[in-house]
């Protein structure tokens, strides 16, 4: 157990490093170094298939990371600026085929990390096999490096390539939203289910970023925060349930709401935040993302919106199977949450509700940054169209 905490602290160190680095090389170092503690968290403390999951996680991330390394070096060589500081590199990348290749190196690394469909297959394994705390950190924080990287590195460094690839990425993201939601509905393994919901949510973040609107961008950043809170809480609560039932299969549960009302209540609350119920912080971000996308890409926004309905299905269907219905015999011996366990989840939920009602403090921080980022891409918000005109896009 002491190893676990040591590894978590080490991971925290690297994660703080990766988010605060303003030097592409330092960013890369943290980006890769971060894998090592996470690898050991999954591999040492995870579920039965932990070795496979840890290896898959590591190799996927490593391949992405190495492609990024190629781009980092390329960035250094092609800009000729003899520095890795991101502020000096912005605007220096020549606007040609090289930029597209460099963009792809970064993009694939981040798309694996984020994960966007079709680079997502490691996440259900890693998320399912990791211990609850590890999974919360993995999906809640570590994966945000991917979407964060889109905003921090891809857009400012490669504006032309970002615009060039945006339609593809948007379509991939929407596919991710719908596909992952359908897969989540069909899952029996609860942790895999939660992992797939994350893939769907990362799709929302993806469209928010690549819609190139301020609402979309701000929504995406806010979404990253909220998704961390909501999925983190969901992984922890599911973990608590699994710790009681010793099985990840949802069929082994049933009627748990009668035996463990606090657990069920907290699960329902986090579940509702995952499906973006108004009043929860996730609603704010999802709404912003969808509005931001709609002003530029109506069709995609409509498709993405249907993802919310699918989200309602997978969350409520899971709740119904695990917590309602006839009480499973095993479930009768379950003990409800104790103070320590409630304390692990309560702050997250409190934040989700607080930010759902009053997101302004966060948005005030996010908006200027997003506006600045979008200026690098030379995109301004489209003027709302009064009448439907074909080809009104910039």
């Amino acid at each position: 157990v002491k190893n676990f905490f040591g590894l978590v602290l080490l991971l925290e160190f690297f994660m703080i490093g990766v988010f605060t680095a303003t030097d592409v090389f330092l960013f890369y170092v943290f980006f890769e170094a971060m894998l090592v503690p996470m690898y050991f968290i999954i591999g040492s403390f995870g579920g039965p298939r932990r070795q496979y999951a840890a290896m898959k996680f590591f190799l996927y991330s490593l391949v992405g990371g190495l492609l990024m390394l190629a781009s980092v070096i390329g960035l250094y060589v092609t800009t000729g600026s003899r520095t890795f500081a991101i502020t000096d590199l912005i605007g220096k990348v020549p606007d040609n085929a090289t930029q597209k290749w460099l963009f792809l190196g970064f993009f694939i690394a981040f798309a694996i990390k984020a994960p966007l469909v079709p680079f997502h297959t490691w996440l259900p394994d890693a998320g399912a096999e990791a211990p609850a705390g590890g999974a919360a950190l993995l999906v809640g924080v570590l994966d945000k490096v991917g979407t964060f990287g889109f905003l921090r590195y891809c857009l400012p460094l490669f504006p032309a390539a970002s615009r060039y690839f945006a339609p593809t990425i948007l379509i991939l993201s929407v596919i991710g939203i719908l596909y992952a939601a359908f897969v989540a509905i069909g899952q029996r393994d609860m942790k895999r289910l939660v992992a797939y919901t994350s893939v769907a949510h990362f799709g929302f973040i993806g469209i928010g970023i690549f819609a190139f609107t301020t609402q979309g961008g701000s929504g995406a950043v806010l979404y990253m925060v909220n998704h961390g809170l909501s999925t983190g809480a969901l992984f922890i609560i599911v973990g608590l349930l699994i710790a009681r039932g010793k099985s990840r299969n949802v069929a082994d549960y049933g009627g748990a709401a009668r035996v463990t009302p606090i657990l069920a209540g907290l699960f329902l609350l986090t579940g509702l935040s995952a499906l973006a119920l108004p009043g929860m912080s996730t609603f704010v971000s999802e709404f912003l993302v969808l509005v931001g996308t709609f002003t530029r890409h109506e069709g995609l926004a409509v498709l993405a919106t249907s993802g919310i309905i699918l989200a309602a299905i997978y969350v409520l269907y899971l709740y119904k199977r695990a917590f309602q219905g006839t009480v499973n015999e095993k479930v009768t011996k379950f003990r409800d949450l104790n103070a320590r366990e409630v304390f692990a989840v309560a702050p997250l939920l409190a934040l989700i509700i607080f930010l759902g009602v009053y997101p302004r403090p966060l948005l005030d921080i996010i908006n200027p940054a997003v506006t600045a980022t979008l200026q690098y891409v030379h995109q301004t918000d489209p003027v709302p169209k009064l009448a439907p005109v074909a080809g009104g896009q910039k």
Binding site: L62, L69, V77
Partner: protein, 524 residues
């Protein structure tokens, strides 16, 4: 008239001081031979160890002094090429000599490790027939064989000449001087002697072939350029009226010889067999020092002698680099023996070094120099650790025996993990910095090659990680090996290897500065 003729004979101007490191090592080797003859058996081991370490240390100090002199007093043509241009003691040469000497000290310390096995890792008497009563008796006795130390010094002296040879004949002599003791040393493992002798024979036969290729290439190049000096060959590429076929075939044959020594695919087939057959400290010595020396020679041949036809040899280096990386990465995945894994890893690393070699720039020289340092220390320490994990038959190198080792010895598992992560090129280890500089040097001239190299390192990462997985996440087997506590000598070598791996990972700048300052090849 006769007197006048005598006076006009040119005596080569010899800058003897530039050769002090080589002389010191050769002198120590000769001293070792005498020690072998006159010092009583009981004292011999300690005396030999002292002579060897003192010789290598003295040479290292003189390299340091020369290095300072070379950097502060550059003559108009760079540093003095000694021996009328047949040797070029320049920044690159001195840097590599220093690296070889430090690695050789570590190898000596590993050879001198006497706590983990009865006697030492080296057979007590190599001439005794395997399995004979005397052999069985000797294998249980504490007797040690000390000829290994002078042999090692002779090999090192060849390795010191190899990267500074500016003349193909001298280079060939150096190649033989470094190879012949190695062939002998290869056959001297204490355990599994037949395998060791087989490895020795295999290495000898293939090595002899490779030398013959080298010599044949040399002859053709002489026919082309009328000289065996590398600068002369360079000039001849512009002036010679001979057929270019001589030049290209000569270069190709020369490369076969050199790439063989550097264990580059497709000339690598001896590597896994030899590394797994020979005594582990000798494998460590071969994998690190020989490689450093060979890449030094390769660097000089290609950059000094054939820089003019770089467009012609580049595709060849591309091809062998790709082959080497792919072979090292893919075949390494299927190995079940740790020493063979390390052998394939060394093949893959040779490929990475070649990636830098493709770009003929100052950066690429520095990248090669830095990479061989990171690779050498990590490999040395990894082989050294193999000596500690033992069962009744000696070293337990089968990978299945390594499962669950982290429970038995967390320290060993942690150290091995650091080394493996370094070989995989994970940041915060020296391996990453080395790869980074190699890829940076090659990006402009060989972008696609860099991408292939990155993919190959991802594949290779799989088998390094597989060992980490085994050590940490698997159950120990029934016949789990024990972890021996190393004596002082191996402890020092291991500590240095691991420390360099970590320090160069987080604070590489001094060595990088040194390498880029020294990245000067002097032709004449």
């Amino acid at each position: 008239v006769i007197l006048a003729a005598v006076n006009t004979i040119d005596t080569p101007s010899v800058a003897y001081h530039a050769l002090t490191p080589i002389f010191i090592v050769l002198g120590a080797a000769l001293l070792g031979v005498i020690v072998e003859a006159i010092v009583p058996r009981a004292e011999r081991f300690n005396v030999q160890l002292f002579v060897t370490i003192a010789g290598l240390g003295g040479a290292l100090v003189s390299v340091g002094l020369l290095h300072n002199a070379a950097l502060t007093t550059p003559s108009p043509t760079g540093n003095d090429p000694a021996f009328a241009g047949t040797l070029a003691v320049d920044g690159v040469g001195l840097f590599l000599q220093g690296t070889i000497l430090i690695l050789a000290v570590m190898a000596t310390l590993l050879v001198a490790e006497r706590s983990v096995d009865v006697g030492s890792p080296i057979v007590a008497s190599a001439a005794v027939v395997v399995g004979s009563p005397i052999d069985r008796m000797l294998s249980r006795s504490n007797r040690v064989q000390t000829e290994i130390f002078p042999l090692l010094l002779f090999a090192v002296s060849g390795m010191l000449i190899f990267p500074v040879a500016n003349n193909l004949l001298v280079m060939f002599v150096a190649l033989e001087v470094l190879s012949l003791p190695l062939y002998l040393m290869a056959g001297m493992a204490r355990r599994r002697r037949l395998l060791s002798q087989e490895a020795s024979l295999k290495y000898f036969l293939l090595g002899a072939f490779a030398s013959a290729f080298f010599l044949y290439g040399l002859a053709l190049l002489y026919g082309y350029a009328n000289t065996v000096d590398l600068p002369g060959i360079f000039d001849a590429q512009r002036t010679s009226s001979k057929s270019d076929v001589l030049l290209y075939v000569g270069l190709a044959l020369l490369l076969v010889g050199l790439l063989f020594k550097a264990s580059v695919a497709p000339f690598h087939s001896w590597t896994p067999d030899v590394y797994s057959g020979v005594a582990t400290p000798i494998a460590a010595f071969m994998a690190s020092c020989t490689k450093v020396a060979s890449f030094g020679a390769l660097l000089r041949v290609l950059y000094v002698g054939f820089a003019g036809v770089r467009w012609d040899w580049r595709p060849i280096i591309w091809a062998v680099a790709i082959a080497s990386m792919i072979v090292g990465a893919v075949f390494g995945v299927t190995q079940t023996d740790f020493k063979r894994v390390l052998a394939y890893s060394s093949i893959a690393h040779a490929g990475f070094i070649l990636v830098a070699l493709v770009a003929v720039t100052k950066d690429s020289i520095a990248a090669v120099m830095f990479y061989v340092v990171t690779y050498g220390f990590t490999t040395m320490a990894a082989f050294g650790l193999l000596m500690l994990v033992r069962d009744a038959d000696g070293e337990a190198t089968h990978l299945s025996l390594w499962s669950g080792l982290a429970r038995k010895s967390p320290l060993l598992a942690t150290v091995m993990t650091v080394l493996l992560l370094s070989m995989a090129g994970i940041p915060l280890t020296s391996g990453f910095i080395g790869k980074f500089y190699v890829f940076r040097a090659a990006w402009q001239t060989a972008g696609p090659l860099v991408v292939i190299a990155l993919l190959a390192s991802a594949i290779a990462a799989f088998y390094y990680l597989r060992i980490v997985v085994l050590m940490y996440f698997a159950e120990p087997p029934e016949n789990a090996p024990t972890v021996a506590i190393p004596g002082w000598s191996a402890s020092v070598a291991l500590t240095v290897g691991v420390a360099v791996t970590v320090v160069l990972g987080v604070f590489p700048q001094p060595v990088i500065d040194l390498a880029s300052k020294a990245a000067v090849l002097v032709a004449r």
